[in-house]
Amino acid sequence: MTCLVDLFRPAIGFAAVKLLEEAGCTVEVPPLQVCCGQPAYNSGDRATTRAIAAQVIDAFEGYDAVVAPSGSCGGMLSHHYPGLFDDPVQKARAENLASRSYELMSFLVDVLGVTKVAAQYDGRVTYHDSCSGLRELGVKQQPRRLLASVGGLKLSEMESPEVCCGFGGTFCVKYPEISNAMVGEKSADIAATGADTLLAGDLGCLMNMAGKLQREGSAVRVRHVAEVLAGMGDQAAIGEPEGKR
């Protein structure tokens, strides 16, 4: 479970569990997992990253697959962990974990072969491709394929769904003005589609875009794609008070 989902939007976690269980998986959430280490990794603190990665490797020992509802956390485990270790034993363990780690959409479609879901969502949605999922893990068609099976849902692509939203982890607070310019462009791109809902696969990006849209007074609702696919699209959207639909 990613730290952001744990802290800010547990519904995404439950949606992911539901989708995995419906596809026939037995899901466990190891209680001693914490962060995957990206904040330290991307700030140049390799020693801390290595310590955290070792902890994550321990926590996920013995599972067939490790699935995260996030491309950036999934990519961290599957693409960046092995490079952290020089020690051959730890490196081998990291490689083993990497080979079992997946982003949720790609796991459902590419590994489990899921082609449709039984969900309903009445609305016009647009989908933002989060950077790590897209460019590190090749997540592009998988969510769209599943969304196509959602009843009542219409997808309107924005002009540049593959351009970064400006979140970038600590980037958005280290360089707030540049980040703001980037997310401002994104929100204009979203508005131009006429969609009433924005979906993506990473909560960091979603919080960034939701925060910007709401600051601008936009009525676009923002959700994680898993919530809609799991038929949980009727809960309050990100940044909306409970009871408001």
Partner: protein, 472 residues
Amino acid sequence: MQSTARDFKDNAHAALVDPNLQDSLAKLKVGFSERRRQAAERLPEFEALRDRARDIKNHALANLDFYLEEFERKVTALGGHVHWAPSAEDARRIIGELCRSMGARTVAKSKSMVAEEIALNEHLEALGIAPIETDLGEYIIQLRHEPPSHIIAPAVHLTKDQVADTFLEHHRKLGFTRRLTERNDLVAEARYVLRQKFLDADVGLTGANFLVAETGSSMLVTNEGNADLSNTLPRMHIVLASIEKVIPTLEDAAVLLRVLARSATGQESSAYTTLNTGPRRPGDLDGPEHYHVVILDNGRSAVLGTEMQDMLRCIRCGACMNHCPVYGAIGGHAYGWVYPGPIGAVLTPQLIGVEEAGNLPNASTFCGRCESVCPVRIPLPSLMRHWREREFERHLTPRAVRQGLALWSFLARRPRLYRRLTGLANRMLALFGRAQGRYRTLPLAGGWTRFRDFPAPPPGGTFHAQWRGRRS
């Protein structure tokens, strides 16, 4: 060139509020990337060519001393001279002396980023030699006393109106008193003004895209043909290039050219590809009497054999900046030195020091778009991360970041404590944000809430708390 990379944040602010710049950037963002995409699509083997281009450059870098010496042998055999410049200052001195040996008063230059790197124009002017830029973009920014903002399109930050005003201001004294508004008229006027200067120049100076070891040729691509005037008309031709430009063979050059033009502008090939192989031989119709190649190191050889070596594969196509959302927001000048964009963020700390340029590799979301388009597959985000690691090791990371990180990593290594604290934070944020569902301001989160609302978590506890509740 004097660096302002230290002032990156201020530079970026100025760029974000400059309407002319924002206008120009809006065009650049769609134009270049769309043309590259189409060019790549039209060539089925494009991805395979990128692999070959990467391998060629890797091979050349692994045997750099051999190919550089081979190149020197060939040039010498042709009657030319190779000069080795360990530092920028050495390069300036060598070029200054060469110009003096010809009694030069003017030097016709075609675009060269290495010349910018060593601040050649200032040096020549100090010697009383006038550098004449023959590339249109370079000419425009020379008139405006500005550095280039892009490695292949130096004046891309300017609107057509700004160029019109600049020409009117500078060409009036030459009798051009009408303010031009059409692109073609502007080009024609510049051509007219520049042509005579080409003819008068004593020395021609060009950069090089590649130095071909096999033949001793330097290879240069342009879209204006201006380089051909810089290297055939004057009596002396000086080529200025950095060490990593050397490649083994002409066949290798052919592969690299195919990915270069497509990545840069979406063209199949640039309009002019020029090979210079030594001075004029008996019987040649034209060409310079004297031919010199100045090869600059300036800190590059220090990255050979390190985790940073990949940066030397760069063929300066500009694709990484054309696709970079940060460059697209702030343009090239904000980076504060010669090389902007992702490659600048990697190269600049090496060339002028990470103390000076530390912001550059940090100002990236690691979105990876640069790496996905780089024709020689340089892992730009990883290289930026390596810089961050070196900064961290040397305690250059800003204090607030270090302290936040230390606290966070303390907690992240104590899962039970972490769980208790996040549970508390979750409940507080949910409680106080309940009515609105979000925050307009939040203590310690000013960087976020200055421009964005911060979503509050819904009531009910963290995922882990709820999960425990459900499963027990």
